[in-house]
């Protein structure tokens, strides 16, 4: 009998519940709904069950885009994380240099993403761009990011590294600053080498921060859209069409809502799965080491 009184608290949750339902749950259910229907025209749909899922999963162009995306994400992670740690290790701990370095490093993060793409478009143009002209004229290497797939890949990756490494640097720097001085003092007395200090003190203590950095960078790079779209528009042919652009082309370009809905759910689940794997691996790296 007394329990009924406690239930009144649920009414306080109702407004939030309505807002979330309106903005997230109902649209999500709509997507699920579309993914199992063939939509001829707005309002006219035939139930087709798992047909879209089957078609999407067997689409060879999807497999190519997925592979491209994987290579892109892992390469970019493999460059940005070690580079970020290395730069964070060199930043000063005290004094006016700290603010100066952090502000300058954070500048790329403040630029709107489509502007980042535009900056690199102009920068890399072989006729008027600083980088394009330098590589072609001064270094003598033929470089054209609109014509050559390899060049466009390289340019997109360098742009991503330029844009996002500062995030890793800032996170790692915060992690490093949290290490008390006594650890370095004890390591000095123990006669530890610079590498030993990094491996046994700094890296383990940065584990939490690195996990955030890896997860953030992975998720963002796996969903990347604006920058490569502005820079290459998908690349010469399909060569820099990553997953999100593939999805958009399908949904908006071809106005095929059924397969697009199915694909977005698959996309979501893939990101969820890979993030979970990263998280579990990094958390258990700390626990399993000494066994």
């Amino acid at each position: 009998m007394e329990k009924w009184e406690d239930n009144k608290a649920w009414f306080l949750v109702l407004p939030v519940f309505l807002v979330v339902a309106f903005s997230a749950i109902i649209p999500l259910m709509t997507v699920v709904n579309y993914s199992v229907q063939d939509i001829m025209a707005p309002g006219q749909g035939i139930f087709v069950g798992p047909e879209w899922y089957r078609e999407v999963l067997h689409d060879p162009r999807l497999h190519e885009a997925f592979l491209r995306q994987l290579i892109y994400s892992f390469t970019v992670l493999a460059i940005e994380i070690p580079l970020g740690i290395a730069v964070a290790l060199t930043l000063p701990a005290r004094g006016w240099g700290v603010s100066a370095c952090l502000v300058i490093l954070a500048l790329p993060l403040l630029i709107p993403w489509n502007v980042v793409g535009t900056i690199w478009v102009v920068f890399s143009r072989p006729d008027i761009g600083l980088s394009g002209v330098t590589i072609n004229e001064l270094l003598g290497i033929p470089y054209n990011y609109t014509a050559d797939p390899m060049d466009s890949w390289l340019t997109v990756m360098v742009m991503d590294v330029w844009h996002w490494t500062p995030l890793v640097i800032l996170l790692c720097y915060a992690g490093l600053q949290a290490i008390p001085e006594a650890y370095y003092q004890a390591a000095k007395i123990d006669g530890a080498s610079r590498w030993a200090v990094f491996r046994f003190i700094q890296l383990p203590k940065m584990r939490g921060v690195l996990m955030i950095a890896v997860l953030l960078r992975f998720m963002d790079s796996f969903m990347i859209y604006t920058e490569p779209f502005v820079l290459t528009g998908g690349g010469p042919g399909n060569s820099t069409t990553f997953l999100s652009q593939f999805l958009t082309k399908m949904a908006i370009g071809q106005f095929d809502l059924g397969p697009a809905a199915a694909f977005s759910l698959i996309y979501f689940l893939v990101i969820l799965l890979l993030s979970y794997i990263f998280y579990t691996v990094i958390t258990n790296l700390g626990k399993g080491v000494a066994k």
């Binding site: 006594a182 003092q185 004890a186 007395i189 123990d190 030993a196 383990p204 203590k205």
Partner: protein, 364 residues
Amino acid sequence: MARIVLDDLAHSYRPHPAGPDDFALKRIDTVWEDGGAYALLGPSGCGKTTLLNIISGLLIPSQGRVLYGETDVTRLPPEKRNIAQVFQFPVLYDTMTVRENLAFPLRNRGVSPADTAKRVMEVAEALDLVAVLDAKASGLSADAKQKISLGRGLVRSDVAAILFDEPLTVIDPHLKWQLRRKLKEIHDRFKLTLIYVTHDQVEAMTFADKVVVMFDGEIVQIGTPQELFEYPEHTFVGYFIGSPGMNLLPVTVEGDMAAIGSSRIPLPAALAEKARAAQARGAKLELGVRPMYLGLEDAGSPHGAPARIQLVEDQGDCRIVTVGMGEVTIKARVPEGRAIPTHEARAVFPPEWTRMFADGRLIK
């Protein structure tokens, strides 16, 4: 082995010190004998940690020299000196087991695996860590972790001195005495010089053979706990040591008596003569007596000086009585069972326990 000499040492954290206030350490000239157990005692901010870091090499002093035996080690980095330091909170390598933690300093110095294993076992036995040798160091309790930190210092056979920077701060109170006893055992067994920094006088007095009291960047007194208690050379030592600290009353000397207000306190003749000489020089005189020696008698007694009982605090095994004498309040420590007068009383100052200070320094 490790007779540590500090010669004309001073240190300032500022690059261009202007006056004495800029110096964290003012003038330090001392000798730490080989194999001694020293406590470095003082309030927060008095320079104890600075001094410790200079001795261990983590800090290079602005002026002066540090000598180990005959060798000048002032600029020698810590890993080349044969010292170890234990910090306020346990400093461990989290990813390693206890065994690997203990072996780390030896591996860095290129000691053979066989010798390393033997030495690690020896130290683990001395510290009762054998049971947890293969456990991960990060999962242990705080006192085990501090023992591992200590072990990393002991494991090097060339270590001659161990420096402790308030190591028992994070340990539970009921484990502190166990660790202190363990430290004494280690001291007896390995015959090392131990320098133990603390602001807790009970820890200092129970641990050390000699206590070094520091205040405001200077060493104020070095002595055994007994000497510090009975003959404090500075009013600060009198006040800091003892709970509650020594009572200090501003007095003038008239003949063989110390005068405060209208009260007269008898002094031993020799002491009174020296006090009069100091007074003639213009020194400010203070009379000091420890609460446990201050006597309280009934108002009708012919001894002592008139006083008023203000407050009685029962501490279980004794009672602390706050007594007013004119404008000054002093405290007496009365053992359980003895009667305390109410309201009016007489404060009795035993001459053998009465000390006189001129400008803060003991008149001997």
